[in-house]
Amino acid sequence: MSRFPLAEMGLVLQSLRMSKTDFDIHYVARLARLELGSEEEETFGRQIEQIIHYVEQLQQLDVDQVQPTAHPVPLTNVTRPDEVRGSLTNEEALMNAPAKGNGLFMVPKIVE
């Protein structure tokens, strides 16, 4: 049995992963649903590796005891009265649609 707590093992794994700089542009572009040409993959891949290398300077800081900031002015439970009000008409909602019919968005067949 390993004596490392899970969290710590995660960190060890992470640092091993990071040191390999295993940024795989093909894989990440697929996650982002973004088709790239082979030239783009090559150029962006090189540029983004460089940027990742630059942002890795944040690893120098000890942030163990620091709370993250997600938002400059944290507001919680923001609500407004639950009232019916005007909204876009069907026509307005569809006015920029690339394909429409019968008052609906048209999309390619999803289920065979």
Partner: protein, 486 residues
């Protein structure tokens, strides 16, 4: 008509009956027609609509006594093309939205309309506001009105160039990491980024939601305060807008600044500062001293980490926000054999290079196994940067820095190296990470070529009145804001 007048001066002449809104608008339209084919500040000009709005304003001024109290009645304003204006194009300077027409008004645009403004057209920008030079526009590169070989800054480069070149009396921009202040600095106008939550983001195409803020670009500080008066305020349609009373931001203008404590962050005055910028900023510091301000050195120790923090957070948020552009409900579509292929092809064809780079980087820093190491860590460093500013603002009322380390660079100079482009944002991005207000105003020129230099003042969150008061005191004691490009 003199196209280099302030809103205040045009308003006075309108109210005095010396000139009509139609004459004002026609004057600007003529100027646009003669210079904007080279400048490319505007993506779309609504000539007919502008003249119609001007006529409405003139009629209201003649018949409706309430019209005179509207702060922007009959005055032309240009809006950055990432802020929705009903019935007008909203392209975000992207191919993917090249035929998009906004079905509703952003809150800022409805407020401008209620204030009587004449909305003349849509200003160019870096695609989806991602960039520092307006070179990333799918439409055209905007040129700096002071020297066409140079960029106007970005991403609100079209808005800044339009004000500086006399195409309009005021413009609206958005600032995610300096996108109002940096082009204001490069084009020689005033650019104000309000505190996060002060101005509604409803109808602003989201780039990085925790950083984006809309603000004015104007010819002088009083006009910036006037426009802020119009656009500021809580909006229930933006859950991040802050429910806090606004104030009359022109009320403090003209008050003296004796005893005001102005901090110089030592990390902002290190090597790498252009000599002309250094001279101008040193001059501004002495001017503040002469005006009675007390100059104090302060420290923002995590400054060197701000760019890395910013480019992790902003790309992460951008990758999520831009997921909506998938070719289904709006925008261009490239067909595929199934929806997933359709998304990928649509996005691959519709987005430009910088947007693609940021989506990929943002997806990577949020992806499983990397989230903690990049995104969460960046959010923690954001806390450290915020604490730096809180500590500084415990000691001083304002911070004074250069807006950018050098005057406007040349077209093409940095566009092939994204990291070099990112590094130019070092003095402006912290205000977005922290959420405080910041403003750039002219404080000098470089020689050969003659290009404007900007002074940045930053205030505590929601202390825009204090910020504007100090900026006004400096501006009125100098002549920099009176210079126009030839």
């Amino acid at each position: 008509m003199d196209c280099f007048q302030t809103l205040a001066s045009l308003r006075q002449r309108l109210l005095d009956g010396e000139i009509t809104s139609k004459e004002v608008v026609s004057g600007f339209l003529g100027r646009i027609e003669s210079v904007d084919s080279d400048l490319n500040a505007l993506i779309h000009l609504d000539k007919e609509g502008a003249l119609k709005q001007a006529q409405t304003a003139d009629e209201a001024l003649a018949s409706d006594p309430d019209a005179r109290s509207k702060p922007l009645i009959g005055l032309p304003v240009v809006v950055k093309d990432n802020i929705a204006e009903r019935g007008q194009p909203l392209t975000c300077a992207s191919k993917i939205l090249s035929n998009f027409v906004a079905p509703y008004d952003s809150t800022v645009v409805s407020k401008l309309k209620s204030a009587g403004a004449v909305l003349m057209g849509r200003a160019n920008l870096d695609e989806f506001a991602m960039g520092s030079s307006t070179e990333n526009s799918a439409r055209a590169i905007t040129r700096n009105p002071w020297d066409a070989d140079h960029i106007p800054g970005g991403s609100s480069g079209g808005s800044a160039a339009a004000v500086s070149a006399g195409l309009c009396a005021a413009a609206i921009g958005s600032d995610t990491g300096g996108s109002i202040r940096q082009p204001a600095s490069f084009c020689g106008c005033v650019g104000l980024k309000p505190s996060y939550g002060r101005v509604s983001r409803f109808g602003l195409t989201a780039f990085a939601s925790s950083l984006d803020q809309i603000g004015p670009l104007t010819r002088d500080v009083r006009d910036a305060a006037t426009v802020l008066n119009v656009i500021a305020g809580h909006d229930e349609r933006d859950s991040t807008s802050v429910p806090r009373e606004t104030e009359d931001y022109t009320a403090s203008l003209g008050q003296d600044i004796k005893g005001l404590k102005v901090g110089l962050p030592k990390e902002y005055f290190i090597e790498g500062l252009d000599p002309a910028v250094k001279v101008s900023i040193d001059g501004a510091v002495s001017q503040f001293q002469q005006l009675g301000a007390e100059i104090v050195e302060v420290s923002l120790p995590h400054t060197e980490y701000a760019i890395a923090t910013y480019y992790i957070i902003c790309t992460a948020e951008a990758s999520a926000n831009l997921a909506r552009f998938d070719g289904i409900r709006y925008g261009a579509r490239v067909d595929g054999k199934d929806p997933v292929e359709l998304y990928a092809k649509t996005r691959g064809a519709g987005f430009g290079s910088e947007v693609k780079r940021r989506i990929i980087l943002g997806t990577y820093v949020l992806s499983s196994g990397y989230y903690d190491a990049y995104y969460l860590r960046a959010q923690k460093v954001r806390t450290l940067i915020r604490q730096d500013f809180q500590n500084a603002f415990d000691q001083v009322d304002l911070l004074l820095t250069p807006t950018v380390a050098a005057p406007a660079f040349k077209v093409g100079e940095k566009s092939t190296d994204p990291l070099q482009m990112y590094l130019t944002d070092i003095f402006t991005i912290s205000a977005n990470l922290v959420g405080n207000c910041g403003l750039s105003l002219p404080c000098g020129f470089s020689q050969n070529p003659k290009l404007p230099i900007g002074l940045q003042l930053m205030g505590r969150p929601f202390e825009e009145a204090n910020l504007l008061k100090a900026a006004y005191a400096y501006e009125q004691s100098t002549d920099w804001h009176k210079a126009f490009p030839s």
